[in-house]
């Protein structure tokens, strides 16, 4: 069977599986809809959390980003895993003991204020929407690349699937589909990695292959070879970074704290039966995530070495088939600047923007050597090739010469990663609407059945809005992930941690801290990333403390902390009943099930 047939088969089977699970696990009560009834096994919750967490970007793009960034890519590896330590130690057990359904629940009760609750709802919705748009886009991209349908058609199909199981099953349906999705995605990620590691280093475990010698009898360590290749081509050494230390520090910290503050991750710890389970399921989650996150840098190094070896100074006509195939999709492009027919790879961009093929009678125009001619203006650098980040994972099975069913599996894995994250985020949005807004503020007396309808309606609305963003991605989509982390770091994390560890923290302190934190983060991002309010995006030299917008969440978080502490000490302490809540959540016994008022 060819790749296309395999892809239809495997993707079709996994979708049937997800829908089957959704029918089996449909939610009958609000408690099942919000927190899966609070009875999920910690290992299952760990897997679901891992699938929830690892998005299309983790699966498809991360290895590629590291591959091009080398040491600088470490910020994502440490940042997106280290946050789980904070989550396990500082948040999960206490929030589980608190025993409500959402993050705004905690903020609203702990700070005895509907203003605080509303601020939290707005943050949760903004953070989740910025994130979910990217996921729907990811679904569309995978469809278009592997099944050769239009990106928008892909978004529609993905929307239908998510619509079905998120609305029917709520958290319960999502949790069990995510368990299945984790299995699909990790298998799809590991199989090509193991084969490539075997090919290049003779070591079956990619993490060990990463620190082994290359398999060509030269006795040179893989990473040394890669450093040498980089130096020869004029790049910085792979294992040395080019970002400033303070910026690496700030970005890593913002990603860690942002991870721990993301509502769709936090809410997962409400689904387990006991405080003890919340602690251990954070451990399982990180273990399952670490399998992918320690493999990704290995894939990055293998793929980078492979790519340079395959391309550098070789004739275009001698390129393998995958090179030409991905050229047609615009993920690879070659401009023969010196007209010698050989590929020259060097630092800097090869052309302006992303490659756009010149068309003739609806077909790409071919150059002298059969290459796709691009319409983009060539730059003055010596570099002749454009390589998209995403190629590293998507093309890996082909580069390693693996069978067609594995290539199809990668497509199913990418879809699993995107769908599981999208569903988790949509649930946060729907819960924010039905519970935090309708039930807690607008219509407190509604029946459970009515609330469940609001929850389903909220999910439906959120899916449709997300699909809209997937089809018409806002111009600032590149900035949004950084923004989502920055906002979570600058708003939720300090408010929750202080709510648990500082009994004296009161409404005035937390609310002012959150508002100042968000505004600061948003303002910095608007000016230094998007160039709003100013004539052009300011250069690196004008960054505050040399910290990029991606790392600015760290500064905004520290400011939030400082403002909260100062304001709370100048205003009256919280009422006794609230101090009792704090005392209570610090002791694990008597957590019981997630309870309503």
């Amino acid at each position: 069977m060819d790749v296309q047939a395999w892809t239809f088969l495997i993707v079709g089977l996994t979708f049937l599986l997800y829908i089957g699970i959704a029918i089996w696990a449909r939610a009958g009560s609000t408690k099942e809809f919000y927190v899966a009834g609070g009875g999920v096994h910690p290992v299952a919750n760990g897997m679901a959390t891992a699938a929830d967490w690892m998005s299309a970007a983790s699966f498809i793009s991360m290895a590629g980003i590291i591959s091009f960034a080398g040491y600088d890519g470490s910020v994502y590896l440490m940042g997106w895993t280290g946050g789980y330590v904070l989550l396990a130690l500082l948040l999960a057990p206490y929030l589980r003991k608190f025993g409500k359904f959402t993050v705004p629940d905690f903020i609203g009760d702990r700070y005895y204020s509907n203003t605080a609750r509303t601020v939290a709802v707005i943050c949760a919705i903004v953070v989740s929407f910025t994130y979910v748009a990217g996921q729907m886009r990811g679904v569309g991209l995978v469809f278009s690349r592997f099944l050769e349908v239009d990106i928008n058609t892909g978004v529609y199909i993905g929307t239908l699937i998510v619509f079905f199981y998120a609305i029917m099953g709520g958290m319960k349906g999502i949790t069990y589909t995510q368990v299945a999705q984790y299995c699909v995605l990790i298998f799809a990620f590991m199989v090509p990695a193991i084969f490539i590691s075997l090919n290049m280093t003779g070591n079956i475990i990619p993490q060990l292959g990463f620190i082994s010698e290359v398999n060509d009898g030269s006795g040179v360590a893989l990473l040394d070879k890669l450093d040498q290749l980089h130096t020869d081509l004029g790049f910085a050494e792979y294992t040395n970074g080019s970002k400033s230390m303070i910026d690496v520090f700030a970005i890593t910290f913002a990603l860690m704290v942002g991870t721990a503050g993301l509502p769709h991750v936090i809410v997962r710890f409400f689904t387990v039966p006991k405080v003890k389970d919340a602690r251990i399921s954070a451990g399982w989650a990180l273990l399952f995530i670490a399998i992918l996150y320690t493999t990704a840098p290995a894939i990055a190094a293998f793929a980078r070495t492979n790519l340079i070896d395959t391309m550098q100074d070789k004739e275009y006509t001698a390129m393998p088939e995958w090179f030409k195939k991905w050229e047609e999709t615009g993920l690879i492009a070659w401009v023969d600047k010196d007209g010698d027919g050989a590929i020259n790879y060097a630092p800097g961009a090869a052309m302006e923007g992303k490659p756009v093929a010149q068309l003739k009678d609806g077909l790409p125009l071919r150059g002298d050597y059969g290459q796709v001619m691009v319409a983009n203006a060539a730059t003055t650098t010596e570099n002749e090739v454009y390589i998209d980040n995403d190629i590293m994972v998507l093309a890996n099975p082909e580069i390693a010469g693996l069978p067609n069913w594995i290539i199809a599996l990668v497509a199913a894995g990418g879809l699993a990663a995107a769908l599981s994250t999208a569903a988790g985020l949509l649930l946060v949005i729907s819960t924010a609407l039905s519970r935090d807004l309708m039930r807690m503020q607008i219509k407190p007396n509604m029946s459970e059945k009515e609330e469940l309808w609001w929850a389903r309606g909220g999910a439906a609305m959120a899916v449709i809005v997300a699909a809209y963003f997937g089809i018409n991605p806002p111009g600032f989509v590149a900035a949004t992930v950084a923004l989502a982390f920055g906002l979570a770091a600058a708003s939720f994390f300090p408010a929750i941690v202080l709510g648990i560890f500082d009994k004296r923290m009161n409404r005035q302190g937390a609310v002012s801290g959150m508002i100042v934190g968000i505004l600061l983060m948003f303002g910095y991002m608007a000016v230094y990333k998007l160039g709003w309010f100013v004539d052009e995006v300011p250069s690196k030299d004008s960054w505050w403390f040399g910290i990029s917008p991606e790392g600015f969440g760290t500064v905004a978080m520290v400011v939030n902390l400082a403002v909260s502490l100062v304001v709370s000490r100048m205003t009256p302490p919280p009422p006794q009943s609230v101090q009792d809540i704090v005392e209570d959540i610090r002791i694990p016994s008597g957590a019981g099930e997630a309870h309503d008022h």
């Binding site: 789980y84 130690l89 990463f210 040394d224 006991k274 602690r279 451990g283 005392e583 002791i587 957590a591």
Partner: protein, 106 residues
């Protein structure tokens, strides 16, 4: 809340001495203190392996090697993540022991 405290109080509290509420409060405070000391120790390790080994002292550590990789680089892309996973499981072990010690387990 109040129910919880009663549950925690020893069965036969001596009369005249500290009240059961005082004892329960003391127990909670002691539990919380031990919990905080674990947190400080574990977070110190968390900070050292990531920000210390992977970022601040990466150049110094790069003079050493683990297998075919520079040590600092390895910590940034592999080692720190392994330690993170370990840290959570150590934390779970310590806290379960602490819960049992104070009778706060579920």
């Amino acid at each position: 809340m109040i129910l919880d405290q009663e549950k925690l109080a020893p069965e036969n509290a001596p009369t005249g001495g500290p009240t059961p509420e005082d004892l329960a409060q003391k127990k909670r405070t002691a539990y919380w203190k031990e919990n905080l000391s674990y947190l400080v120790a574990l977070l110190a390790v968390w900070f050292v392996v990531s920000y210390g080994c992977g970022i601040l002292f990466v150049e110094q550590l790069n003079n050493y090697r683990i297998g075919g990789a520079k040590l600092g680089f390895w910590f940034a892309q592999q080692g720190s993540i392994y330690v993170f996973v370990l840290l959570i499981f150590v934390y779970v072990y310590l806290m379960n022991r602490l819960d049992d010690k104070y009778g706060f387990g579920e």
